[in-house]
């Protein structure tokens, strides 16, 4: 669709200066509510620029950068010691001390509703010694450091006066981050650079505006510098609107078919393998994400982000090639019969399966439709059930599904496996469980996960991850289809230094920890060429 006379072009707001970054990263619905309480699910996404974590997690590969904690030590898997950075101040001038950190964690303990990340599921106690903070964990739990480190620290001198931090909206936030809230209207808010930030020298952006109107038409036409949005036909739309518009869609998770391991026939490995063999993940990915995302291998890793964790002994990076014959054979091994056109169950009935997906998740729906076509070819009829998102969540948590589309794994390989597979989270069908919703139980996997938690040695951890990859490849807990993308759109006309495939220093996402990193790397385009 090129060369159309009605091409929509970007028309940036001329009042926006060269030092101002315009981000479409916070969705007003349709207007903003002033909520800057970082411990609330409905907080404005920019709280990630106002409040800072102890450790900055890279959403791409799970690597950790020192942030408020200049340094940390984890020689023992059941405790962590962090050393606070010197010279950090809150935006009202008060210095940030270990007391603020202690206060933040203790508040989360007192108000579990604020503990969105669940730190107190790992933490037993903490104490400070000068700028050193010692966290005592509930047991051997080496991965906990990432979770503790990601906690955003809030100022005690303000928050200690708050009566109920679970309902407080914190409309005038005081934080330590590189930006402070400047103005707020329901349709747009803006932030200013915090000149006294400890890394202010690295911050070249003076102002940020977050408009509420972030529909795709807005994104394309209003001259945004940075957006996070799936954009259909990105080259003809975003790309065509402005010569400096770029995009980078690295993988952020694995979209797969999640079988309910407590329900026949998916408790049978041969059936799951049959599915994996019958489906061409590449074609599914093509259909779902218009070819922007690759097929995901059956290892549970996000490639290429986590390339260095990949077990070289797994063939073809874990990709299970489509093979109809082998698929049918696998089904037949599980007791199914195939007469050349129709797959029949043990009872002789045609095999039909219902795939649950969430209404409105259009890429998933496209994926299911492709799966439907592919399975149709080997005589399996697929019906689609698409309840609303909430009902979908409820169905998955309660185990009220046989096969569902789901998203799993992520930047932290261990967390991905644990959340998906640990039998610790197992709940029988009918009982709610947020993790391990596929109701998978396997001693070998549990053992590997436990060993990982007890290990503080990186090589050993890598080896354990290899074991988990193997298990993922062989036991097929889920059938991996394609990578879910991180839909980064950016414009390098005014600012450069964006993360991209050449320099993947962080994910191009406008929420979470990425903006902190990105904002310290961006440079004004004019200045750079001048220098």
């Amino acid at each position: 669709a090129s060369g159309c006379s009605l091409q929509v072009r970007s028309r940036p707001d001329p009042t926006i200066g060269a030092d101002t970054l315009q981000i479409a990263g916070d969705k007003g619905n349709p207007t903003f509510t002033a909520n800057f309480n970082p411990f609330q699910a409905n907080a404005r996404t920019s709280v990630g620029l106002i409040y800072e974590p102890l450790i900055l997690l890279n959403p791409l590969d799970g690597s950790m950068d020192p942030w408020l904690a200049a340094d940390w030590d984890q020689s023992d898997p059941s405790s962590v010691t962090m050393t606070l950075r010197e010279g950090v101040t809150w935006s009202d001038g008060t210095p940030l001390t270990a007391d603020d950190v202690l206060f933040t964690f203790r508040m989360l303990k007192e108000f579990p509703a604020n503990d969105l990340k669940g730190v107190w599921g790992h933490l037993d106690s903490l104490e400070a010694d000068g700028s050193r903070i010692r966290f005592t964990l509930k047991g051997s739990d080496s991965p906990a450091v990432g979770i503790l480190g990601a906690t955003l620290i809030v100022p005690e001198h303000i928050w200690s006066d708050v009566e109920d931090p679970t309902t407080w909206r914190n409309e005038k936030p005081v934080g330590s981050g590189p930006f402070t809230l400047a103005s707020f209207t329901p349709l747009q808010y803006s932030m200013d650079r915090f000149a006294d930030h400890w890394a202010a020298d690295d911050v070249d952006v003076e102002h940020i505006v977050f408009p509420a109107a972030t529909g795709e038409l807005d994104v394309v036409t209003k001259g945004y510098d940075w957006c996070y949005s799936f954009m259909s036909d990105v080259d003809a739309t975003w790309g065509a609107a402005n010569a400096h518009n770029r995009h980078w869609f690295p993988p952020g998770g694995i979209i797969g078919l999640h079988p309910n391991h407590d329900k026949a026939p998916f408790d049978d490995l041969d059936v799951r393998r049959g599915l994996a063999l019958a489906i061409d993940g590449d074609a599914v990915g093509q259909a779902a994400a218009e070819g922007y995302m690759d097929e995901a291998g059956q290892t549970g890793l996000l490639l290429p982000n986590q390339e260095d964790l990949l077990d070289p002994s797994i063939p073809d990076k874990g990709i299970i090639a489509q093979d109809a014959k082998a698929a049918i054979a696998s089904f037949e091994k599980a007791g199914f019969t195939h007469d050349g056109s129709v797959m029949r169950t043990k009872d002789g009935d045609p095999f039909t399966l219902a795939i649950t997906t969430a209404n409105g998740y259009t890429d998933w729906l496209r994926a299911v439709q492709e799966v439907q076509r592919q399975l149709g070819k080997i005589g399996i009829e697929v019906t689609i059930s698409a309840p609303q998102a909430a009902a979908y969540e409820a169905a998955l948590s309660d185990g009220d599904f046989t096969l569902a589309v789901g998203s799993s794994n992520g930047s932290d390989a261990y967390q991905g496996y644990a959340n998906l597979l640990s039998s610790e989270y197992y709940q029988p069908v009918g009982k709610t469980s947020q993790n391990n919703r596929i109701r998978f139980r396997d001693e070998e996997v549990d053992d590997l996960l436990r060993r990982y938690r007890e290990s503080v040695d990186e090589d050993e951890q890598t080896e354990i991850i290899h074991g988990l990859e193997q298990a993922f490849y062989e036991k097929i807990p889920i059938v991996s289809l394609y990578y879910g993308g991180l839909w980064g759109l950016y414009n390098d006309g005014r600012f450069t230094g964006w993360p991209d495939a050449e320099d993947p220093y962080t994910a191009p996402q406008t929420y979470g920890s990425s903006p902190l990193k990105v904002l310290t790397r961006l440079r004004r385009a004019g200045k750079e060429s001048a220098s």
């Binding site: 929509v8 349709p30 509420a212 909430a390 979908y392």
Partner: protein
Amino acid sequence: MRYVLNKLGLFALTLWAAVTLNFLLPRLMPGSPADAAIARLAQNGPVSEETRAAVEAQLGVPDGSLLAQYWAYLGQVVRLDFGVSYAFYPEPVSGLIGRALPYTLILVGAVTVLAFVLGTLLGVMAAWKRGTWMDALPTVGGSFINTFPYFWTSLLLLFFLGYIAHLFPTSGAYSATTTPQLSGSFVVDALYHAALPALTLLVTSLGGWIIGMRNAMINTLGEDYVTFAEANGIGGRTVALRYAARNAILPNLTGFGMALGGVVGGSILVEQVFGYPGIGFLLFNAVIGQDYPLMQALFLMITVSVLVANLLVDILYGALDPRTRR
């Protein structure tokens, strides 16, 4: 008097039924508010057990038996206290509605009245000039445009007048850099932003009025009092307006109250497309986000306004038709 009492009784009963329905409807929906909140979070990556616990703790999932909840709910309704929104937690429902209401009121209210007046006039003209192009154009044209899906018309207008021609703003109810206030410049800005959604609603609701009025008018034109007025040599305009149209408008008035409900329904789609921060958009978000308190309050509000509009129309009817005035 008895007529009015009857009407009021029915009004109260309908109100109660609507209130009860409001209570039941959301509770019949699958998935809890926490599920909805988690579904929102899950779009940014997998959600952990702990998060669910925190979210559930925040939202205070409804407890007690259904009957107890119902009592509590009735009490709240009487006190006009609609609680705290789930989807926009911890924002109070009243605040959300208070912010959205003015825009929808202006948009829908103005458009409904405008469409009614304009449609009625065109209908009068069509019936009066029956069989000529002045009849065919508004009736066929009106009934054609009337069948355009709301959202489709919105999209086309948005695209052509907003994005291509750059004549109108493309989203929002006012410029992003201004704060809502009661000043001349803000009102102008707000009207400018309301123009496209209003045009959509106007265009898609006009046809109904044209046709309704035309048909009613053709009927009254056949009445003897119209023929008699002509026989008495009363001028065409007087006959058309004071005789035929004046009587034809009465049955259409009843439809006017009902139409409000329809326009609010239509405004859901229109507001959705234009990102217009009104009641329709809010309602859609409430439904999608399983936001019981917000949904209940909105439903109640819409139902009550339609009920009140109907009551007003009934009263107006009495004022306009001397036959009911006894």
